[in-house]
Amino acid sequence: AQTVTQSQPEMSVQEAETVTLSCTYDTSESDYYLFWYKQPPSRQMILVIRQEAYKQQNATENRFSVNFQKAAKSFSLKISDSQLGDAAMYFCAYAPSGTYKYIFGTGTRLKVLA
């Protein structure tokens, strides 16, 4: 069965510092997509960054970047220059190619300290 594991229930980071959130997944598929979604308190979930498994280059979006290790089935999110607005639940999600049946991890709550 395909699973997504986020082993850090909660993380804290000082404003302007860098933090890395971990995600591992299990699949026998070779073609799939990985996503990080952000869910701020009482607001809708929004896409932070996505990675196509066939691409070796790690995705980046402004202050957000990923470290995608396909062989290790690891997909971590790095947030640089953390801001107060980054405080939220972060979910890692996996979807096999050809279907958008997302499988989500249990989430990591990120606290940003002023």
Partner: protein, 115 residues
């Protein structure tokens, strides 16, 4: 910017009552998803529509849950009768298509409390 709309935002109901949630996806989005998110967990897919057709409802408890998207636009998720274990956030999401890099756009959710 276009958003997925959901109503109501909050719903409190008694056990054994019927409850319904509504979702209006982003205009032009053919694929619509309903998720259940239990507190402290990630969302779990309940049902996926492509236009008006169900693509996947393997995780939908069909004895009490039903979902429809009659004209391929907005959608309703119903629970009858509600049970205490149904207390959760119900999220709706939509995407342009089933194939391709289908980013899902989420609504604000409906928080259901069953007493």
């Amino acid at each position: 910017e276009a958003e997925v709309a959901q109503s109501p935002r909050y719903k409190i109901t008694e056990k054994s009552q019927a409850v319904a949630f509504w979702c209006d996806p982003i205009s032009g989005h053919a694929t619509l998803y309903w998720y259940r998110q239990i507190l402290g967990q990630g969302p779990e897919l309940l049902v996926q529509f492509q236009d008006e057709s169900v693509v996947d409802d393997s995780q939908l408890p069909k004895d009490r849950f039903s979902a429809e998207r009659l004209k391929g636009v907005d959608s309703t998720l119903k629970i009858q009768p509600a049970e205490l274990g149904d207390s959760a956030m119900y999220l709706c999401a939509s995407s342009l298509a089933l194939e391709g890099i289908g980013e899902q756009y989420f609504g604000p959710g409906t928080r259901l409390t069953v007493t």
